[in-house]
Symmetry: C2
Amino acid sequence: MAIVKNEKITSRDEDFAKWYTDIVKQAHLAHYTSVKGCVVFEPYAFAIWENMQATLDKMFKDTGHENLYMPMFIPESLLLKEAEHVEGFAPEAAWVTYGGKNMLEERLAVRPTSETLFCDYYSSIVNSYRDLPKLCNQWCSVVRWEKSTRPFLRTREFLWQEGHTIHETAEEAEAETLRMLNIYKKFFEEYLAIPVLVGKKTEKEKFAGAEYTLSLEALMYDGVSLQSATSHYFGQKFSIPFNVKFVDRNNKLQNVYQTSWGASSRMIGALIMVHGDDNGLVLPPKIAPKQIVIATIRNDENVLKTASELESKLKKCGYRVILDTSDKSAGFKFAEYEMKGVPLRIEIGPRDVANGNVQLARRDNGEKENVKIEDVLNKVPVTLESIQKNMYDKALKHTQERTYTCTDLEEVKKIMNTKPGFIKAMWCGELECELKMKEIRGMKSRCIPFEEEHISDHCIVCGKKAKHMVYWGIQY
Amino acid sequence: MAIVKNEKITSRDEDFAKWYTDIVKQAHLAHYTSVKGCVVFEPYAFAIWENMQATLDKMFKDTGHENLYMPMFIPESLLLKEAEHVEGFAPEAAWVTYGGKNMLEERLAVRPTSETLFCDYYSSIVNSYRDLPKLCNQWCSVVRWEKSTRPFLRTREFLWQEGHTIHETAEEAEAETLRMLNIYKKFFEEYLAIPVLVGKKTEKEKFAGAEYTLSLEALMYDGVSLQSATSHYFGQKFSIPFNVKFVDRNNKLQNVYQTSWGASSRMIGALIMVHGDDNGLVLPPKIAPKQIVIATIRNDENVLKTASELESKLKKCGYRVILDTSDKSAGFKFAEYEMKGVPLRIEIGPRDVANGNVQLARRDNGEKENVKIEDVLNKVPVTLESIQKNMYDKALKHTQERTYTCTDLEEVKKIMNTKPGFIKAMWCGELECELKMKEIRGMKSRCIPFEEEHISDHCIVCGKKAKHMVYWGIQY
């Protein structure tokens, strides 16, 4: 391994939480502000977000969704219309009570999520089945007044997208719920290089007001899981109280069937915690703001000329390239771009140019290779592809190694206290047993996979007849 | 003229305000919500906004600016740091006072603009002249608790971008202020097809806290002017109270020089009011969500085949095309896309196909043309370009016709009460005379142009020695 440990950050095996905060700071991702739980998304993190956004947005539009923008304020009376929903979100809402010097007649919640606003809008624009489906999405920030916060993982204000769709039939809405889950899955696996579990949340863990929630769960390097995106099926649970009705094909008045689905800036946290190492971020080529850094060593005319020619050739091919010709030392330069997780580094020095070579250094595994200058354009796409694949494979291997099949609570405890991960275990379906599991390091059910394995006949907690195989894990 | 007046909307010469509201509703641009002054940006308006955003964002990035995201909450104490600024914005701030059930120790303003947040951030990340300049921008929504509101023109929450830059020297910051003004000017003229006046705001009209404000002013169809984008030079007015310091090239501690500049969803209002007519929106091709609609009449196999072939050819060339093969009547279909302002309509019916022709209909002037099917791909770019140019020329002619040179207050009154527009008149520089002008239909100074004409030696109000030539006008 050519990579020497970067001393600016704590080792991830030593103190994962501190390692995380160090990277957030040293890679200039987020900056704390005087409002607790609200951070500045610094330009480098925001550039990652913009790439995520562009990719997902295209996937949404390719499947017929349109963007719009809803107000950020929800009148309290509107939030109160669906009982479970308000119970879930009102306790953590930020409330606007004054406009200028005047106290408002009704206080306004800063949106924690926008189901209520979409329902209100849809109820006044939909009349007939001919108006359906409505497939809308918005990119915005939402606010949830959380007690404990952490950059990207849990902040009081965060960036996200929220899709909200309404349909003629339950079947169509359920198909949409699943379709969007699969879009997220594809995005996580193919772009973020993060393997995910998919399945249904238990009643306890579903979204406040949903019939059911489908979820993506990813395992971080430390074995803690992260709920990474969700897709909810609402049935008519909102459309009845909000009176979203249409005249159906039989000329009868009906309530619409509804979904919502979202993914957030938490994905930046996932990227850090799945792929990062002791030298900083490691970004998958498909999402990295810069895919290649050309770093010159001991600049002379030939070095600069070669580097700049290479830069323009690579840019012409569509790569996101940065050229660094500063006179910082090679070690300093390399460490800087390693910290930022740039997937591929091309090193050019006088001896390289004299030999007609450059050095290619991979961020994911530290491998270096001598490449003839004329071969670089052929070598780059292959290497980037190989990095993208290797990152996924590595993360998958890690997830598999940390996925345990258990039939005994003591075993679960031991695992969770030493090398935590996903636990596959049978469950009777009772809330009581779910709460019992929570006593082990706050562990929660992650999801019931679509294809359940049969591990045993008995609930791991109470020993009664098992209903489901469930993935469990401690969570961020 | 082939266009027949659309009966769903009021005539713009009859009642311009009602015409505007009718278009907003009938073209599905904005939808009112139960919170006064907060509207839903419906998908069609949002698609226009996305095109504006993409174009401007590229212009910003091409000139070295980076995007980031600041929190939406500003602690009251932070807002209080610059005296003029707080005086300008605090009276119209929306205040968050509760987080969940707990009253906050300090109330938080929902950002009306983010100078204070950027200063706070910059003060902790800048150390040396080597860190400068910082050229940052963010796309977000802001909130100002306005009394009277109108979709896009003045809403309590609106979408915008705000650029915030800091520099080593005053010269550099002033050059940035002007550079960004010119970027807006280029965008308005070349993309929105809207001619603009540019110049400096008077002391009374400048941004709260700025040294000076540069502004773009456009004239709407009804002769009322719209402040369309602004670029502010702050000097050290914020960097001193916010303590944004750096070690300069002489190793001395200095305060940075600062700018900010913004353009908002108000630009959608400008598009409506400059180009719209009695049949609805008219959108410039460069910004229209769909540039071309292919509308079939009396569908048969040949019509559908020709239309669909044309659609894929045009899409392959990069045009934004919509194909409407519904069985609505031709009149109904045409009216719908005229309402939405689609620049070019291609009509295809059985007789057209039999003759190897299609009809091209321009939205801007209603002209129709028979074009051979094989010529369409050559004809389209020329026509779109001609539409773009014609729209600009028409708007420029209108602005020129409504720009008056005046030396007498009675004359100004008469113009403003009959055919209002921009008034060019001399001014002594005194606030008193500016306020006197305001008595005429609330007229305000628009800007002092960079190249002032000499109209007379005397202030139009008091007759004393004139200091400046000023553009005046009533405003939205």
